[in-house]
Symmetry: C2
Subunit: 254 residues, 2 copies
């Protein structure tokens, strides 16, 4: 069918990712076993969790000494003081603290709960926590380069995470690392159906791709951390930082 369409396919059979694993090798092997041949414009959405694991971003909580500020915020939020200390080390500012909630400005520039630190799906469980990749745009670039080296094809990469939202219920996918495609898509200047110029539209392009992929990858026990997206048309080479609203445009005190 030549109708405009998009397909999203979870790559099968990826092993549990371990520290130091060569992700492009694992991904290329999985794709090859599934009979997938990459083509230009293909985009791979990779959950940050497996990138963090490969990059050894696991931290044992027993090694963490909470600061006074961590103890104070732990009391407000009801969270573990060592976990709060880790969050503080990953952020540049606390946005909101309330019972059960600790929202911060991550050192990467976005606002998120618990600085994206994850205790689910991590071997070791509550005894440790998994930080986000140190520089997810750079991780995406390395994945892109690694896939190019193995397949000969320039593939776009989105490193995804899941964020809550201030005014809407439920987490959605977001892009925290991008290489080989636009992160933010500028449709301003395009004519609309009646030839008027569209006034608004900046599209949170890579975030929408991350959300689409999350519909396939699921969360929890399903464990499908890499999704191939086919049919995207935008060209460019953005950065996940493009998706962070600048301070001077923040009307809500993030």
């Amino acid at each position: 069918m030549s109708l405009p369409n998009l397909t999203l396919t979870a790559l099968p059979g990826l092993p549990m990712v371990q520290v130091g694993d060569d992700l492009p090798a694992l991904i290329a092997a999985s794709a090859s076993a599934a009979g997938i041949t990459f083509t230009p414009r293909d985009v791979l959405v990779v959950t940050s969790k497996i990138v963090s694991k490969a990059e050894d971003r696991w931290v044992a909580l027993v090694d963490i000494m909470p600061s006074d500020e961590a103890w104070r915020l732990a009391k407000i939020t009801g969270k573990d003081p060592q976990l709060v200390e880790l969050v503080l080390r990953e952020c540049t500012a606390v946005s909101r603290a309330a019972p059960g909630v600790l929202v911060v400005r991550h050192r990467l520039g976005f606002i998120s709960a618990n600085a994206g630190i994850d205790q689910s799906n991590v071997e070791g469980g509550d005894a440790g926590a998994l930080l986000l990749p140190r520089d997810p745009d750079a991780s995406a670039r390395r994945l892109r380069d690694g896939m190019k080296a193995r397949t000969g094809v320039d593939i776009g990469i989105v490193i995804s995470d899941s964020h809550g939202r201030p005014f809407r219920m439920g987490n959605v996918g977001v892009a925290i690392g991008v290489a080989g495609l636009p992160a933010l898509r500028d449709l301003r200047g395009n004519p609309d159906l009646f030839g008027r110029t569209l006034k608004i539209t900046l599209q949170g392009y890579a975030d929408m791709i991350a959300s689409a992929a999350a519909l396939v990858s699921g969360e929890g026990a399903e464990g499908l951390p890499v999704v191939l997206v086919r049919g995207l048309t935008a060209t460019g080479d953005g950065s996940a930082a493009d998706l962070n609203r600048p301070f001077d445009q923040d009307l809500y005190g993030g």
Copy 2:
């Protein structure tokens, strides 16, 4: 391929929607011409714009008399006083007003810029504006019933719009009407890969579906307002209201 996957296909050849048009008839005809046979679990994402057009939600600005409050906010925002008056009539509270920005709590319960009122892609251009459907959940229900009557199949419906976000750049898709699928998906209680119980995860399911569809439907001149989504697995029957964060959980003064 039996890999977990999702396909999104824009329905072709839909005519410009006019007041009073029978959307299920237009959609069924388009699908039939494209050789598409619906199956249970199929979801159609329909942009609110064509629902509003069919429901005659176009308002001529010349008929609108701005209130004092509309004049005041027009001065702050630099927006047209008649448009601001329309926004005020569609909202229950003003969230933020600043140069170029008017964010309100829509009478449907969500926070959005300009109460979702649209001046792009509307015949008549600046002389009028298109309000959101009066009750998008009910519109979704009617579409679902209409498709069932024409095809014999229970199809899920998402009526989509595009929203900006407080802390991130770029609009993304959101669901403002839902029928025949969950709007918010509760994954709490599911075990993760290591058998621990997931603590967090409420998924903004219908919003993610709307974002995925927006990657195909595009905005502006492309004009592909209906997208068929195939491969979704969640069952249930939610309401777009499930996606509105309750006041008492709002930490950001929406």
